[in-house]
């Protein structure tokens, strides 16, 4: 604990930077849920890192009192993975817009599912490109016309949950920015989960999305866990096929009723960091970030001839 915070639970994860989101923006709820989850977990602020892309959503790390990197449009996941794989001791949160993660960054979104390196992706779904003034995001349904569009949306939408599941993420959930308690709980669960997580957060954008408003969502969302028989957790490989199938189907429900909660959690898939530990010697104990690369006189410690012995002609 280096921040001089004796009582971890008291650490203020919100800093004093002025938030410049529009009044009524769903992003406020996400910040509250993140800080609540971190406080609740008594997280050491040095142990958690926020990584964002570009967009209204991308500003989030500046408002949190933890190390944060506001990266390029679409590239939050590669940065997050670089941080995570070089220092697997860190908890890495990714904050990105639906445009950021599912359009310009879609390749990384899918790629990370395959890797499953253990980063937690919070996907801000407002169905529009907020910061560039309301164009259609890849989550906006075909034919829908939000107010800033010149004509109804001419493209179909991606379902972030099915895409995440198909890509291989081992923890997939949906939340609503006004259900802060549930979102904060899901974030905690995701952080505790070893593999990578996607949490889609339905988020009103009162400025540009006049269809999927706060009230629109309020009338439609319901919690998966309210059904006591709902159990999305896979602890044995044999359970996977059925639970994957159930979660996947459930996520297709949209319209008058929109389910929120955890769709799928698979604890049987080893994370990338654990896979690496089987290859790179002492990886978890001495990951790249914690290694010394020079001897006490400042010279290399690597023996080039022994390391590349197959190139040695003798």
């Amino acid at each position: 604990m280096q921040k001089g915070v004796e009582d971890k639970g008291k650490y203020n994860f919100r800093n004093n930077i002025t938030i410049d989101w529009c009044p009524g923006c769903g992003d406020f709820g996400i910040v509250s849920a993140v800080t609540q989850a971190l406080s609740n977990m008594k997280m050491d602020p040095d142990d958690v890192v926020a990584v964002s892309g570009i967009g209204c959503s991308g500003k989030t790390p500046h408002y949190l009192n933890i190390a944060g990197v506001h990266t390029l449009h679409g590239r939050a996941i590669p940065y997050a993975v670089g941080v995570k794989l070089s220092n697997p001791n860190l908890n890495v949160l990714v904050m990105g817009g639906d445009g950021d993660l599912l359009s310009i960054g879609a390749g990384h979104f899918v790629g990370e599912g395959r890797r499953n390196s253990g980063v937690k992706v919070i996907l801000y779904n407002n169905s529009v490109y907020g910061l560039t003034k309301g164009q259609a995001a890849p989550t906006l349904p075909l034919g829908e016309k939000v107010k800033s569009l010149a004509r109804p949306n001419i493209m179909g939408k991606i379902n972030p949950i099915t895409l995440a599941m198909a890509s291989g993420y081992s923890f997939v959930a949906r939340a609503f920015s006004s259900e802060i308690k549930q979102l904060s709980y899901i974030i905690e669960r995701a952080i505790k989960h070893e593999g990578s997580a996607v949490i889609e957060v339905l988020q009103p954008c009162p400025t540009y999305n006049d269809v999927n408003t706060l009230d629109w969502y309020r009338q439609r969302v319901y919690k998966l866990e309210d059904d006591k028989s709902w159990d999305p957790v896979v602890n044995k490989k044999e359970e996977d096929e059925e639970k994957f199938d159930t979660g996947y189907r459930k996520s297709l429900e949209w319209g008058d009723h929109i389910p929120i909660g955890i769709f799928y959690e698979n604890n049987t898939i080893p994370s990338y960091t654990n896979r690496l530990a089987g290859i790179v010697p002492e990886y978890l104990k001495y990951p790249p970030a914690l290694q010394e690369v020079a001897d006490k006189d400042g010279y290399t410690i690597v023996d080039p001839i022994k390391t590349f012995s197959e190139k040695d002609v003798e």
Partner: protein, 632 residues
């Protein structure tokens, strides 16, 4: 006695064993105390199309290649046609007598353009479009053609597997015998090449015996070459040398997306994630491994390497033109947010996918102008194996010291050059660490309280700070304040001034040869050693020449370059591109306009003979621009 100087070409179908033939020849000569220098040329193809290795074997370490070659070994009929122009009077061509009946029209892997050129030449000489025609072409030029009955020799001597399994060994064996290397060393070469498989060694040695026996009994027998004590060396390519240098330089995280000619570096590192340590490394320090990540694309590769640097890890990526194009935004981000990251940039023939497996040096201006906006970055270049190793180490040091992206340029020729490196000095380059932060309370990652522009480096896991590609304040939060903007721009760019001040001249530009010379060559990259050889050749002919060799383009040693060039007489810029990019850089930084050029952009390596010839043409004022065309 004339010094041994053997110029050799081994050609065959891609994937058809020319690599192992070349390996056996190289190993046999290395173990006999010789040095070898070779360049591998191949098509963007996995199996079937023509590929070859162009070698030179000397006791001294060779630095360049020459045409025509002394011996050409054809492991397929295509080689005979493809290299018609690479042999001359006095050369020997070795081939399988089974090719005698081969018709050119069956050489389906020869591209139609090349086929057209071959046919034109044969037609002009009234020769038939088949192996007989090309052999007549050789004979009429005074070339020795040597047909070896491959199948017969193999079938009479080994019975383990099909004959074609041994074509490469027989090709290598015949070559070694024809050159006069004693058979014992040929056997050593086989043992080395097939180290781990005694049974394979046994049958291949029988093939070597057959080859030697055949040559001994024929009129082809030559005097035995001298042998020398063999010192231990490492047989490295530019890819290998750079990988090795980066690892020595503290690299612990490398990302890549497969691309020729860059990925050989990453895949080599991938197979050495469990590095070995020097004896004196203390126990705590020597617990380590390297992480290599194959990414989903180059956007991911650069940005993931940037991300890893945020935990204090020394990280890098390696790519080639198309991938580098995708990386531009990420490199700009590293410049703006002051991330130490290394991009090893292997240049190949562009534009677009261009000549994917051929040489090029046309990305210098692109590297210098990577990304939008103005941000500090370093651009360095290597020209031989030793530079690949030590620049690999230095690139990481520069990144750490100046907290900026470092672009390390290497060309395809160098990446695929094989060279025997006698010594690796583990104490030549000291490892430089970033400017460590000591104040963990209210840490100002971009502190303006610095004269050299270098602020304390922040490490995720130890420090709380923010980063953004937007203009930012000392804490790393977004700002659009006009005064803060100016201060941050100036602080970032100041680091280049600091780098220029701190880095010694020999790492930026070097003058080889006498200070006062009639000719001054200017070059960078893989032409370095070739031009050093050119200077010695010219000296033998009574012509004085020197070489201004450039190693760093940002920061650029403008003052020194101007000083050298102002004292020069005939300046010739030598580059593997069409527009003389280094000459443009020189003009931009010094105002000096170079007017004579030897350029090559057909994707093949430059050779000594063509540079000498072009130099003469320029000296005689026949032309100011020589475009080199050798190479198949």
């Amino acid at each position: 006695m004339q010094e041994t100087d053997i110029n050799l070409l081994v050609g065959g179908p891609q994937g058809g064993g020319i690599d192992s033939a070349a390996n056996m020849i190289s190993m046999a000569f290395s173990l006999a105390g010789y040095n070898i220098y070779g360049i591998r040329e191949f098509h963007s193809n996995i199996k079937g199309r023509h590929s070859y290795i162009h070698f030179r074997i000397m006791h001294e370490r060779p630095k360049s290649l020459k045409y025509p070659v002394d011996i050409m070994v054809a492991l397929d009929p295509d080689t005979l046609f493809e290299h018609m122009f690479d042999v001359a009077k006095g050369s020997k061509v070795v081939y399988d007598s089974a090719f005698n009946t081969f018709n050119l029209k069956n050489a389906r892997m020869i591209t139609s353009d090349t086929m057209g050129r071959i046919q034109d030449e044969l037609a002009e000489k009234n020769l038939s479009f088949d192996v007989k025609g090309v052999l007549d072409y050789f004979k009429s030029t005074g070339i020795d053609v040597i047909a070896i009955p491959f199948d017969k020799l193999i079938n009479e001597n080994v019975h383990d597997g099909p004959a074609n399994r041994y074509y490469n060994t027989l090709g290598a064996g015949t070559t070694l015998a024809l050159l006069g290397l004693d058979e014992e060393h040929a056997d050593d070469g086989i043992k080395f090449a097939f180290k781990k498989k005694p049974k394979v060694v046994e049958s291949n040695i029988k093939v070597i015996r057959a080859a030697y026996d055949y040559v001994e009994k024929s009129p082809l027998k030559v005097a035995t070459l001298p042998t020398y004590p063999a010192i231990p060396r490492m047989l490295l390519t530019g890819n290998d040398a750079t990988a090795l240098g980066k690892l020595m330089g503290g690299l612990r995280f490398q990302t890549y997306y497969p691309i020729t000619p860059a990925s050989d570096e990453s895949t080599l590192l991938e197979s050495h994630e469990d590095m070995k340590f020097l004896q004196n490394a203390d126990k705590i320090v020597n617990k380590a491994g390297l992480v290599v990540v194959q990414c989903e694309d180059e956007l991911s590769a650069i940005n993931m390497a940037n991300g890893a640097a945020l935990t204090g890890t020394r990280s890098a990526t390696a790519t080639s033109g198309p991938g580098f194009s995708l990386m531009a935004e990420g490199i700009g981000y590293a410049g703006m947010t002051e991330i130490p990251v290394v991009i090893t940039f292997y240049q190949r023939g562009g534009p677009s996918t261009g000549l994917p497996t051929r040489n090029g040096q046309a990305d210098l201006l692109f590297a210098l102008n990577t990304g939008h906006g103005e941000f500090p970055k370093m651009v360095i270049s290597s020209g031989d194996m030793e530079e690949c190793i030590y620049d690999g180490m230095k690139s990481l040091n520069y990144a750490q010291r100046y907290q900026m992206p470092v672009i390390h340029l290497i060309d395809k020729t160098l990446a695929n050059t094989m060279d025997l490196v006698p010594e690796i000095d583990v104490k030549k380059v000291k490892i430089v660490k970033y400017n460590e932060n000591t104040n963990h309370e209210n840490f100002k990652r971009y502190s303006l309280d610095t004269e050299n522009g270098i602020s304390p480096y922040g490490v995720f896991g130890k420090d709380i700070f923010w980063m953004t590609g937007d203009e930012h304040d000392e804490l790393g939060h977004v700002t659009e304040d006009s005064a803060m903007r100016d201060k941050m721009m100036e602080k970032r760019m100041q680091k280049l001034v600091t780098a220029d001040r701190e880095i010694p001249l020999e790492d930026k530009a070097v003058l080889y040869g006498d200070e006062n010379a009639d000719i001054t060559y200017v070059t960078w990259g893989s032409q370095k050693s070739l031009l050093i050889d050119t200077i010695s050749e010219l000296k033998k002919q009574g012509i004085s020449a020197n070489l201004l060799y450039l190693r760093m383009f940002e920061p650029f040693p403008a003052e020194y370059v101007a000083k050298v060039l102002k004292n020069s007489h005939l300046i010739i810029d030598v580059e593997s591109n069409m527009t003389g990019q280094a000459a443009k850089v020189i003009r931009m930084f010094t105002g000096i306009n170079i007017e004579n050029f030897i350029l090559k952009y057909n994707g093949r390596h430059m050779t000594l003979d063509e540079v000498l010839k072009s130099t003469k043409n320029i000296m005689e004022k026949k032309t100011a621009l020589e475009v080199l065309q050798e190479g198949s």
